[in-house]
């Protein structure tokens, strides 16, 4: 493993560095956990790492609450997400997803931006953010910000829409609807062990109901079931207007079928495609049980 590194201390320096290396072999290093693993296995010749962890910029590292929702800098760590009260109370799906990511040690350094930009189909935080319909801020070397909805952020297996001169700067999640009375929000991660798993299948959901228990907004996303994390739009639409507590067995199954329609899983050493589908169907139903 051999590479060079540059350590920008400010966002301005960061953008200057990105601009300078446009024609060269460079990569960003955030928490570096996935990245170092990859590099240990497949060393890359003449690589320069643009180290993001020394950039001092509250907008890049911090978390901010507003009336519109919550904005997280891309360098916010999984641990900070887990420890945040607002996230735990209002977006349990994100709290649970961050908490189920790898291990205590990894969560100290792993970042939300890293989890997004790795664009793994089994990214836990990314899956939760998809269910929350987060918005991504892509900052280019020109200093301009382009906003992209998370649904459009993932371009394919381990690919994003980020251009070479762009960096993921922040992620915003919309506030829960004002008339929301109850939230049914969770991250279901299926694996062999109770910890240290890379999802075999995962389902993130964030469902809001009004004072009558009627579903007024629903978000559900699936992980490890397709080349990218996918938002199950038709399944979500199907729920709107239904009373959460009164969902029938038939409706549960219809919802699960709709979720499943977004899945095109593969068979690998962790599970077969058939298993992934069966379990995704089952856990989709389980939301209402």
């Amino acid at each position: 493993m051999n590479f060079e590194i540059i350590n920008p201390g400010t966002t301005k320096e960061l953008l200057a560095a990105v601009k300078k290396f446009q024609k060269e072999n460079f990569r960003f290093g955030a928490g570096c956990t996935d990245f170092l693993m990859e590099l240990k296995k497949n060393p890359s010749e003449g690589l320069t790492v643009i180290n993001l962890s020394q950039v001092k910029d509250a907008q890049f590292n911090g978390l901010k609450k507003s009336v519109k929702g919550l904005r997280m800098g891309a360098m916010l760590t999984a641990h900070k997400i887990v420890m945040n009260e607002e996230i735990k109370n209002k977006y349990p799906v994100l709290h649970n997803a961050a908490e189920s990511l790898a291990s205590t040690q990894i969560r100290q350094v792993a970042t939300v931006g890293g989890n997004m930009c790795t664009a793994s189909p089994s990214g836990d935080i990314a899956c939760a953010l998809a269910s929350l319909q987060a918005d991504c801020e892509l900052l280019s070397t020109t200093g301009k910000i382009r906003n992209v909805n998370i649904n459009s952020f993932f371009a394919g297996l381990r690919k994003t829409v980020l251009k070479k001169n762009e960096i993921l700067y922040g992620i915003s999640i919309p506030a829960n609807i004002k008339s929301t009375k109850n939230i049914f929000s969770n991250f279901i991660k299926v694996g062999t062990r109770r910890s240290m798993e890379c999802s075999v299948v995962s389902l993130a959901y964030h469902i809001q109901t009004d004072s009558n228990g009627i579903i007024i907004k629903a978000g559900a996303a699936i992980g490890a079931s397709a080349p990218t994390i996918r938002f199950a739009a038709t399944a979500c639409d199907f729920l709107i207007g239904k009373k959460f507590k009164n969902i029938t067995q038939k409706e549960k199954e219809e919802f699960a079928e709709k979720v499943l329609s977004y899945a095109s899983p593969i068979t690998d050493i962790r599970a077969t495609a058939g298993y992934r589908k069966e379990v995704l169907f089952n856990i989709s139903k389980s939301i209402f049980e």
């Binding site: 299926v190 062999t192 062990r193 109770r194 910890s195 240290m196 890379c198 075999v200 050493i269 962790r270 599970a271 077969t272 298993y275 069966e278 379990v279 089952n282 856990i283 139903k285 389980s286 049980e289």
Partner: protein
Amino acid sequence: MIKKLKIIGTPVPKHDAAIRVSGRAIYGHDIVLPGMLHGAILRTEHPSAIIEFIDVSEAKKLSGVICIITADDADVNNIGYKRDHPILKKGEANCTRDEIAAVAAETKEIARKALNLIKVKYKIRKGIYETSEALKESAPQINKFSSGKFENKNIAEKFHYEHGNIEEEKKKSAHIISRKFTLPRMTHACMASSNITASFNNIDKKLLLYSSTQVPFLYQRDMAHALKMNPSDIRVIQPVIGGGFGSKLDMHPFEPICALLSIKTGRPVQLIYSREEEFIASPIRQPMEIELTAGVDKKGNFTFREINIVKDNGAYTSWGATTPFVIMQAFSSLYKIKACRFNSTAVYTNNVFAGSFRGYGNPQATFALERVIDLLADELGMDKAEIRLLNANEKGEATGQGLHYETCGHKECLETVIKKSNYKQHAAHNRQSGRFLHGTGLASMLHVGGGAKIYRSDGCGTILKIDPYGYCTIITGSNEIGQGSETVLAMIASEELGIELKKIKVINTDTDIKPWDVGVHASRTSFVAGNSLLGAIKILKVKLNKKAAELLKTNHSNFDYSDNKIISLKSNDSIALDKVVREMHFSEPNELAIADYFYEPSSKFQDKNFKGNVSGTYAFASQAVEVEVDTYTGNVRVLNVYVAQDVGRVLNPLLLDGQIEGGVVQGIGYALTEELLMKEGKILNPNFHNYKMLTAADVPDIHFFPVETIDKEGPYGAKGVGEASLIPTAAAIANAVCNALDVEILELPITPEKVLAAIAGKKKLKTEKI
């Protein structure tokens, strides 16, 4: 009369725990010697290939590379239990682990770089990865060094055993069940990867090895054979060992390779496996298929067992090939069984070869055996606890194989777990509907508890001395691999000599110093080394008593040793132990306070039909396990494990708990999550991410109830405990899952995917029936 014990039976923390918890213990990874080089091994790219040529010229040019060796540079003998294993491979590769070349370089990075510069031309062959393929007439001979004494060229080893009249017992059977079980590859995954530091001194031609072997004296001999040296010119020093579990019973090729690199360079060479290498190139638990047919009469008495086992030997033969010694014992002698016929065949393939692993074949055997007991109970309509209690082993029993149970806690173990787990209530109420289903399962085990007389001696030597300051040094042949044997020995010395623990040192790491011992295996160390120490203490006390009597001006030798003093039981006069030792040393007839003793267990070699009382004593255990099965995902969660084990006597409850809990958790891994996956001879999951050892978050509540039977052969009545706790766990879990789901499990590990498939299979059966 046994006097009241002061130390034995108390929860003394591990002797050197403070050193280990401070990061001060020196493991193989931490050794740095002056001028030390770093070794690395190039392994084959293909599990079955002709090696057309090896070109090391580019690698040799790399600055910092000191030495590169291939088979052509090595004048060595084959290694392994059957001497069928060349340490560096020439002409062909037969297994994904095969060592093609080795490098010694100034740094680890240079050594690794050099490996990439070695060019090897392979002609890929079609490998043989199934035992059934290997046994075909048309199959090529996989190991050209095989003994060739069997009817098929690819048979590495065979065992046949029988007792009783099978045909008679079949006639008496009301029900006969026949099943085939498949057992996976499990690997030790010690937290410290395999390592060795070799230092050959080309002035005096002596070889010093810092090695993590579990069997230093056998290792010294194997190493000498491999390198064509005199064993006594090889000194083996064991650094602190980061986990053993049987993995270090065989000498592996990397060890003589590292020694060779040191011999060739005249400099110390260190070789440490990466984690990936550890998964690829260290031993595994034997994968096998077990066909078991067993019968029961109408009252529930077991009648016979008939067993055919095919083991995947892999490309070379290790000690693992001898696991049928233990496997047949479980089948012949766990529960009363009137007739048994056992056949096992180990077959060469191009897969990775097995080694020994805690339990030594017994977890596999027990899984098959205990699953079939549940099936027999179902056929009879008999309670699964009752059928076990009816057939349980008893004190005084001599089994068909000739094992003598002088003490036997089997029934008590069963009764304990049945009661403590509320087994009967659970079993009756487990049937429920919904997503999560609960099940309860039982299993027992029998294992050697007083060594196993397999090698020419099952003995252990001790040298014991007390210095003029009253400190005691125990030089023992046995060694410490984390299990706590040092602590137990120190406790015994403290108990008997009345010396406080902090004044007791245990020296056990150096073959130049310590007396012979066969090694750490077969749950033997506390039993054998403990008895050996007691023997030495007895001899030393004769000397000490004599001097004490002289100094106390008495003519009896009725002394108590406590508080660093020798106390006359008649007059209550006392004298400090250190003073007695000084008087021995410095006044006539000037002798040392030193004694040595070699303990050989009373066990017997088995005859050629494998009959005989092979161990000094036998350990029994039963476990009851409660599981919860998620029928949506197939995940099995172990909720509670109840363990009752006949340990003879509890020597140290703290260390004993540690052995039990550690074993149970390994057993749960074997049952549910751990499998080294192979395809076409290659390992698919050589990392902790996909080889799934349990984490702290997965651990259930483990309830342990020691059963004390006070065996007269054991130190203070103790039996060996190290392996027992993992042996019945997988079987009990499988029985619990079957109980929860009303399905049949014939294979480990019971992965979520297999659980859902079993549920789906049952649904299908049901609809067909309707």
